[in-house]
């Protein structure tokens, strides 16, 4: 049986040139396949990154939030109401106030500087925080109750409409003639000079002085809008401008600083904006978005003077904190400072409709946060705040009753409930929850104020990449479309998002219920699918293969084929199966009714966690079986033989050697399968997951929802914000999956290390 050895025939193998070409081809072939494999890897990486990009892009970004009522407004309203309540006199006529204060040593009041000046003989102005009111201290901001007066325009407008530039020139030249009369402090020479320089720069002119004004030389319209504080000043100058020969029309609208800047920057309806505060960055951005640079002209300062009569001997200086007490909570002077006389404070304040009262309140009480108000004030806000039009209460009587029905506001008094009825109900057989609950605390009431009064509403959202790259354009767009909204950067994934249950408002909705539902369901799935799957795999690999009986072998082959096919059945089919079997057929058990454990016996049906868990278990069972079989098959035969040769039974061998060696592989397969179950939506929709549920599941017979269901349901909503919270929920789901997988892998690795 020797092998015949012939010398190789010439030409059987490539040589010389052929060899070179052959090798070249072979190397090309190898390179080609390597490139194919690397490309596949790159493509899958790109797909993964694209998915992450998509999700993260939606989960973070700018949002425009509109409050029903600004929290600051609520605080101010409350303070104003308090001030008005304790005032001796509240009048729109400053002369009444001056008259009331003069000669009364216990009186105190405040008004514009002009009125103080007119009554200087009878009144004295107080220093505030040690600073006396003067043009310099007011303009520098040292004197606290002062606000700057600006007019805003833009080089673009001034160039297009020479009459606007001319009017501003006239304004800056003549403002100091009028400002004392109106009652404001004149701007310092330095800031007026800087305003003039701004004008020159906007007109591309050089030199230190403004050119001479000739109102008659220009024509056309000049539109001015804005602050009511600046209004009288601008109005006077407009009149003088016309008197000086201007033939065109000049209008001055009194619509408030914010409204004026909006018309100027966003709507393009104003050439000049009057403002009693500096323009903010958002407004500036909005202007830039319209192609307008902002030119700022400081024209003066408004300051309020706190006055007492000449007869008052103890007050020369007050602090802002003392003013807060003096105008509201204190009764006698000695309540504020013990060294002051023990006589009642008599307050004379401007009327409720005056801007002066608003300004004073803003300045003195401006730093007070809504959240820090006492509970009584917050309850008052809930019970009394009306909508911006002043037509109806924001929290209706009915709603208030409902809130009080849920939980009392006070232990000892009632807003809407009848005390007798409450006592009666609490003594009854089935006392409502409020009887045992403590009264709402400040935090709780504040949350109600937030939810029902402030009621922030997300009106628009932008994706992350746009938010980062096109911030200015977005701000401009928001300023145009949602004038009352605030644009802020928002992460949709917050601790609150994870903690809170589902809600109809996307800004308040959370995924706690869904996370718990997912965890409960998946726990059932694992508990059922893992032991059954591994058991079946052991049988198929270790017992079924041992038989020589052809019939049995045939049956085993059929079983095996079916399991392989089941792994490829669409998941919705399992949903239909689960609906038919677990939800319908076994309803008494899956609803818990047969075991007396139904969550709610009146509505008990089979759409429970256990039905969902069992359905998902069926779904992943084939995958677990197949993976476990692979893992068991991979255990070397020699180990089984070694075990058997020692006189071990089959089961002893399997338990001691086959399973420990197969378990890492089994776990890997199980992790994959469970991850799949965790992300399943379709079968659960069929089985009857609740789409809107706010109650946490508390057992296997609870109604439930899961994270994928929640995501699915949110993405189907038309409002854009639901897409954002869907993306946030996806991130939560991914994190949940990754941490579960990481845990399983750590356990598996620790186990494998112990084995080897």
């Amino acid at each position: 049986m020797s092998v015949e050895t012939k010398p190789a025939q010439p030409g059987s193998y490539p040589e010389d040139k052929d060899l070179a070409r052959f090798i070249q081809f072979r190397n090309f072939n190898a390179t080609f396949w390597r490139v194919v494999f690397i490309s596949s890897l790159v493509i899958s990486l790109i797909a993964l990154l694209a998915l992450l990009y998509n999700v993260v892009n939606e989960a973070f970004g700018l949002t425009a939030v509109e409050n029903q009522i600004e929290p600051e407004t609520l605080v101010l309203r409350l303070q104003e109401a308090d001030m008005l309540e304790v005032a001796v006199l509240s009048s729109e006529d400053d002369n009444d106030l001056a008259a009331g204060i003069s000669g009364n040593p216990n009186a105190i009041g405040f008004f514009g500087y002009a009125y103080y000046k007119a009554n200087q003989d009878k009144l004295q102005a107080l220093m505030v925080n040690g600073i006396a009111p003067s043009a310099e201290t007011a303009e520098s901001g040292e004197y606290p109750i002062a606000r700057p007066l600006f007019i805003y325009s833009s080089p673009q407008i001034m160039n297009k409409k020479p009459q606007v530039a001319e009017f501003i020139n006239y304004y800056l030249t003549h403002v100091n003639d009028e400002i004392d009369d109106v009652g404001y402090f004149a701007a310092t020479t330095a800031s007026l000079d800087s305003a003039k320089a701004t004008w020159l720069k906007a007109q591309n002119q050089t030199g230190a002085a403004l050119p001479a004004v000739n109102p008659a030389a220009v024509e056309g319209k000049v539109l001015v809008a804005g602050s009511s504080t600046v209004f009288p000043l601008t109005d006077r100058l407009a009149t003088r401008f016309t008197e000086a020969g201007y033939s065109g029309e000049i209008t001055v609208d009194n619509i408030g600083t914010t409204g004026g800047l909006r018309q100027f920057c966003v709507e393009g309806k104003a050439d000049i904006a009057n403002a009693s505060r500096a323009i903010n960055t958002l407004e500036r951005a909005a202007c830039r978005g319209k192609g307008l640079e902002v030119a700022e002209f400081r024209v003066g300062t408004d300051a309020l003077v706190v006055v007492v009569s000449r007869e008052n001997t103890f007050l020369k200086n007050v602090t802002v904190e003392q003013l807060q007490k003096i105008f509201t909570e204190a009764k006698n002077w000695s309540d504020v400072d013990p060294s002051w006389p023990n006589t009642p404070i008599e307050r004379y304040i401007p009327g409720a409709d005056s801007g002066t009262l608003d300004f004073f309140t803003e300045t003195i009480y401006g730093g007070v946060e809504l959240a820090s108000l006492p509970k009584d004030d917050l309850v008052e806000i809930i019970a009394t705040t009306q909508d911006p039009q002043g037509k109806k209460l924001l929290v209706s009587k009915g709603k208030l009753r409902q809130l009080e029905n849920e939980q009392l506001f006070y232990e000892d008094k009632f807003l809407t409930l009848d005390p007798d009825k409450h006592a009666q109900e609490c003594a009854g057989a089935e006392p409502p929850a409020r009887c045992s609950l403590p009264a709402r605390d400040q935090e709780n009431v504040y949350a109600l104020v937030q939810e029902f009064v402030v009621a922030p509403k997300v009106v628009a959202t932008w994706p992350l990449v746009d938010s980062l790259l096109k911030r200015e354009a977005i701000v401009a767009e928001a300023a145009e479309k949602f004038p009352n909204a605030e644009v802020e950067f928002r992460s949709w994934i917050t601790p609150d998002f994870v903690r809170k249950p589902q809600a109809s408002d996307p800004a308040l909705a959370g995924v706690r219920t869904a996370i718990l539902g997912s965890l409960w369901t998946i726990a059932i799935t694992i508990l059922v699918a893992f032991p059954i799957g591994v058991g079946a795999a052991i049988y198929l690999e270790e017992y079924a293969t041992g038989t020589a009986n052809p019939l049995l072998r045939r049956i085993n082959t059929i079983i095996q084929t079916n399991i392989n096919n089941l792994a490829g059945v669409p998941s919705i089919i399992y949903g239909i199966l689960g609906l038919a079997i677990f939800v319908r057929l076994f309803e008494p058990f899956t609803s818990g009714a047969a075991l007396g454990a139904a969550a709610d016996p009146t509505t008990a049906n089979g759409r429970t966690i256990i039905s969902a868990g069992l359905t998902l278990a069926l779904l992943i069972l084939p995958v677990i079986i197949i993976n476990a079989q692979e893992a068991i098959r991979a255990v070397p035969l020699s180990l089984r033989q070694a075990g058997m040769a020692l006189g071990a039974t089959k089961w002893q061998t399997i338990w001691a050697h086959v399973l420990p060696n197969a378990i890492p592989g089994i776990l890997t397969g199980t992790i994959l399968a469970v991850s799949r179950a965790m992300g399943e939506t379709a079968p659960l929709v069929v089985v009857g997951a609740s789409t809107f549920i706010t109650i946490d599941p508390d057992g296997i017979f609870s109604k439930f929802t899961t994270l994928p269901i929640q995501i699915y349901q949110w993405t189907a909503r038309p409002q854009a914000e639901f897409r954002n919270i869907a993306a946030a929920a996806i991130v939560v789901l991914l994190i949940l999956l990754l941490s579960m997988n990481a845990l399983a892998i750590i356990l598996r690795n620790r186990y494998s290390r112990r084995l080897s």
Binding site: G546, S638, Q641, A642, M644, A645, L646, G647, H657, L755
Partner: protein, 264 residues
Amino acid sequence: MSENKLSSNGKYALELQDLHCFYGNFRAVKDVNLKIERQKITAFIGPSGCGKSTVLRSLNRMNDLIPGAYVKGKILYHGRNLYDAAVDPVEVRRRIGMVFQKPNPFPKSIYENVAWGARINGFKGNMDDLVEQSLRQAALWDEVKDKLQQSGLGLSGGQQQRLCIARAIAVKPDIILMDEPCSALDPIATLKIEDLMRELVQNYTIVIVTHNMQQAARASDYTAYYLMDRTDRAGSLVEYGPTQELFTNPKDKRTEDYITGRFG
């Protein structure tokens, strides 16, 4: 099957009577008649495919693990047929241990490798003593006594094979079957195993399958030569006798061809 049924003091440990081995429809071994003497080393030799491993594996019913494998004929162990319906194959394997061609220690500690067999067979004595005694008998104790808790897979091939032998003798078998135990080992490790076999044979009956005729000549007391029948491809026993005699004065021409290297 209880202890006393299996133990008597005959001269032969195993008697094979008209043994035929089948894999499904295929008859792999035919008509083997053989008496294996107690406390001797019996070597099975022969070319590949001659059925010597099949016969060896049928001696402790390891072939049962292969689907479709069965035997006809009898293997008497202490006067009882191992293939009787009443005989539990698990018990048979406890009495008749086996060492495999490739060392296959469990992926567990050295200690556990030895102790596991004893434990699952209900050993009640002092486990530490049993492990030490078994490792000493397998001439491995001095090499591993300081690392009993380390994995058995960390040992060299020869050490692993001796660990497998220690593992086998820890369950106190009568007979140890060795299926080409040295084929994966270098010559030095092989010699160590052979020395060990000579030690062990004082207490145990050993049956060894080997491809290495020098090994059979060196280490065994009896030798059985198997050969595949060209016509039906079934292996059969050609010649059996004391090793000395079979190697120096073979009765059969085919045996002579094989041991002189003229065949194969």
